[in-house]
Symmetry: C2
Subunit: 574 residues, 2 copies
């Protein structure tokens, strides 16, 4: 990549694009992409050449201008990883779209982002049908994920066209002795402003319209370096794509894996059988996923203790102690991380302490659930008092909670790996910042040792008899019962206590426990007001297609139960 | 550290100062400093408190202004590591001075840098004697390296005074629930400009006046992250201070070790007995040093195969294959790095290749000697043609050498981990940059696989019968002979060939080899013109106190030999 001559000699604008070229120059023959389902294998030099063709293809789009948005609708596949580098190299902004969104949501995102190009995996083409009217000028490129072995794959045609543009550009330029690949990359401009936007990721809010999280080249570079460092990625690592790459740009792993010259191992969907094949035979060293995904993996029929330790980042919501302990027994080393789309994915983790060596696995897991230590390139993660509801939050200065493990506050952060803004939404941006800090909406306590423990989303907290109860903390207690496989707690309106907990519990196969026994188990470790008043044993919990728990479904269910109970009570009083 | 409110929420100026505070917050009880010789042990929270007192002490110096230079004359000790953070935190520029410099050189550096404060270890106080006149306004603080256990230690008095200023500043401010240490650090301004100068390191040039290499906060931060990543430093690591911390700011390790929450293990001098104690009993996981230092370590009487692998960065000059192979046998894993003071220390390394696993140790070592792959945060390291002697270098565009392992060129670099300039020396700065690239003066070839192999300093190259000969390459060949412990080759004037090689060889104890045998060994692998015409077996090579080979001494010796030979020849012709 070529820098403008005006840039000082001791300054290279930070951009995650540079990692792929560096990998291709230093580790040209190392495996970059392994995609067993489609029989695709690419070395870093092959992959950098494909990605460069893609870059030229985008640059060759009629009327292409720097700063334009390019949408991607795809599961984990080589294309979405290639686009993470190519779109940025072409000066564009990548807009990865969640394939579980509805066609209407996708239409909204395409319109709001003003995407000029849309790369879409053929399996998800139906999501675009209703959008024809919403983005008439956008060019759509369909991919069959064929890895170049299907002559009719439109994405491969796009790459071929890009390759011809590259060849023409090269003929026009000077010859070089440095090899075609490097010469080709030198024809591309290096992003001259590291604070230029790099990605636009829409959060799938449960209420309201999705918001577009705008991040920068500098932030993505520094976050990717943190992820590579904190995960201990190296040239021998194999990163298994369980986490969707469309989710917060795959937590910057499309770039972090390149920074370490590690291999990307592709999984198009979360299939536990394929995952166990990758763990047992694919050389996997790292993967990441939400607790609900981990539960599926550790309870799968092929689960067995692995011969070597695999590092697993567990995030999205805090894992229960029981799950962490179960993973360790399989030689899956859980690293509990915390972050949001607004922080480029993980921004903090729990550092294990030397003194843990003598503790039982369960105790270690319990300590690991506390976390919140800033990543290498992150600023400190703070827990601050939530301003009173009647105050204007902007006028209340930030104040840290006590380090007592009890006082609950909101997690706030700032610095290089915090988003720039909500795209084209000044009001949402203004509301989410206080005193120059991004307010996450997540609640936590801070322990005397400095570590924080995520309590809940603000909305998952409820008040019972005047006391704050965190549904996550109740779930953690329930999960420590040996018979419990999975559980969820939501608030239920109560005539006496205002709100009470209503737990839904899935038991392990061949285990039994009564509702009463589970309540008594909670009572041993929790205040009385926090013990769930209702416990329902159920066959399964409602989840969406990515395995994320749908608490809103449970909330609707208990709302109806509470209503009919109130009805009955009212009737009995008559 | 407090940021001015004008800084955007998604921007924190990069500074290596932040690593110590982060370590103290996340790993407060982890060992930071282990200094067995003086019985000093400090945790990160204790050390961050000391360093903060030091910062306040500097800030409290009469008339202190941002950007002032603070000199340090000390061997490896806690003070020099503390100053690497404290001076920068106070807005100053650290000027570490080589304790092997002469008093006259030191006087020059103190004057040229305009150092306002001088921190000096009591053992090296004599170096300052002649300087009284050169820097009359400078304040000198002597340290006994007592770690606070000697009431008469002036450095400790300085820290005590700083601690009082801190306490006063804290009383004046608001109270906080976040603990004294964090509150204290919040009273310090975060450097608001990441491109502000951070360090001024004088290179001990063999010719001419020392030049002051000026580096920045951003560069030091990014270089430290690279060093932590490339060395694989982690919270369980123990970094043994063999490399002097005054040398190019200890290659940024005073910050990199903090970034990883690893422990600094202090050695005041290169003592092989102490080194083996640290390797065998001190928990060392990493150290760095020049090849001549490594030779002393691997040949020491206590040398034995270590139970666990220790990573050793080998630099300053390229190690011979024989040394690399010897280290591997002791379980010292050599990582060959290359860099200069102008690149914050190491800027490139050799990445081992998967295919090496089947090779012999000697073959692996031979491949490892080729290197030059840019560090994580470095730009590409290039090898470019040297402009003809009669051309104005500024007018000749940079051109890469062929990737054939033969064409010799100069190593050039640019980017975030290249120095800003030679301090107050616009002419030297101008001369050393071409086309916006820093020209190192080091010669190398580039192999077809992309890796580079350092040939020599420009001045260590000589011309024999019209052919370029690299003295390092001759040394590498000689060292591969099993009887050779160490060797050095310099050019000698020759009436027929213009210059020829003159080798000085130290044999291993209990090994024998004749001069002729060594020449024949070279002839097997090298062109005839490169085989040294003269080989002298010697008991030892001339070295300075830091163990660096003094080639200039050998050059003077051969100059005299060549002269008297010419005399004899002239006489015999009479």
């Amino acid at each position: 990549m070529t820098l403008p001559p005006s840039i000082p000699h001791n300054y290279t604008p930070l951009t995650p694009v540079s990692f792929l070229l560096r990998a291709a120059l230093i580790a040209p023959d190392s495996p970059a992409i392994v995609h067993p389902e489609r029989g695709v294998k690419l070395t870093y030099s092959q992959w950098a050449a494909r990605t460069l063709s893609l870059t030229f293809g985008i640059l060759g789009t009629q009327g292409w201008r720097t700063g334009e948005r390019v949408a991607v609708i795809a599961p984990n596949c080589p294309m979405i990883l290639e686009l993470h580098t190519a779109i940025l190299a072409a000066g564009g902004i990548i807009t990865p779209i969640n394939i579980r969104n509805t066609p209407a949501e996708i239409a909204y995102i395409l319109k709001h982002s003003g995407s000029r190009l849309i790369f879409c995996d053929s399996e998800y083409q139906h999501l675009l049908r209703s959008n024809e009217s919403s983005s008439p000028s956008a060019q759509i490129i369909i991919s069959n994920d064929s890895g170049g072995r299907d002559d009719s794959d439109p994405y491969e045609h796009f790459l071929d066209a890009g390759h011809r543009i590259w060849a023409e550009a090269e003929q026009a330029g000077e010859k070089s002795s440095m090899g075609q690949l490097k010469r080709g990359w030198e024809l591309i401009d290096h992003p001259a402003n590291e604070n230029a936007p790099a990605a636009l990721c829409y959060t799938s809010g449960t209420t309201g319209r999705p918001k577009g999280v705008l991040t920068t080249h500098r932030g993505a570079y520094l976050a990717a370096i943190s992820n590579a460092f904190e995960a201990g990625l190296g040239a021998e690592s194999v990163y298994l794509w369980v986490l969707p790459a469309f989710h917060a740009c795959g937590w910057t792993f499309p770039w972090a894996v390149n920074a370490a010259f590690a291999a990307h191992y592709i999984l198009r969907k979360v299939d536990n059988d394929q995952i166990w094949s990758a763990l047992l035979q694919g050389g996997t060293t790292h993967y990441a996923g939400a607790p609900t995904v981990q539960i599926g993996i550790v309870n799968h029929g092929r689960a067995e203790r692995l011969p070597r330790t695999i590092r697993v980042a567990v995030a999205a919501s805090a894992p229960t102690s029981a799950l962490l302990s179960q993973m360790e027994k399989l030689n899956l080393l859980p690293v509990h991380v915390y972050g949001l789309t607004e922080s480029y994915g993980p921004v903090s983790r729990r550092y294990p302490h030397r003194s843990w060596a003598d503790l039982s696995t369960d105790d270690r897991a319990r300590l690991m659930a506390r976390q919140g230590h800033g990543f290498l390139t992150a600023d400190e993660v703070r827990v601050c008092r939530v301003p009173p509801e009647d105050a204007d939050p902007q006028s209340v200065a930030l104040e840290d909670v006590r380090r007592d493990g009890k006082e609950m506050g909101e997690i706030v952060m700032r610095g290089n790996i915090v988003m720039q803004e909500y795209y084209n939404d000044a009001e949402a941006t203004r509301k989410t910042f206080r005193d120059g800090w991004f307010c996450t909406g997540d609640l936590a306590v801070r322990h005397p040792g400095g570590e924080i423990q995520i309590a809940d989303r603000k909305k998952d907290l409820y008040i019972s008899g005047g006391e704050n109860v965190s549904s996550l903390m109740v779930e953690t207690e329930l999960s420590s019962h040996p018979a419990v496989l999975e559980c969820a707690v939501v608030a239920r309106k109560d005539p006496k206590w205002q709100e009470v907990g209503h737990a839904f519990v899935v038991l392990r196969p061949d285990h039994r426990a009564s509702e009463k026994e589970l309540q008594e188990h909670c009572r041993k470790h929790m205040s009385k007001f926090a013990v769930p008043k209702f416990v329902d044993l159920v066959a399964e919990l409602p989840k969406n297609a990515t395995g994320k728990l749908q608490k809103n479904v449970l909330r609707e269910r208990v709302a109806k139960l509470a209503e009919s109970a109130a009805d009955r009570q009212a009737k009995s009083k008559l």
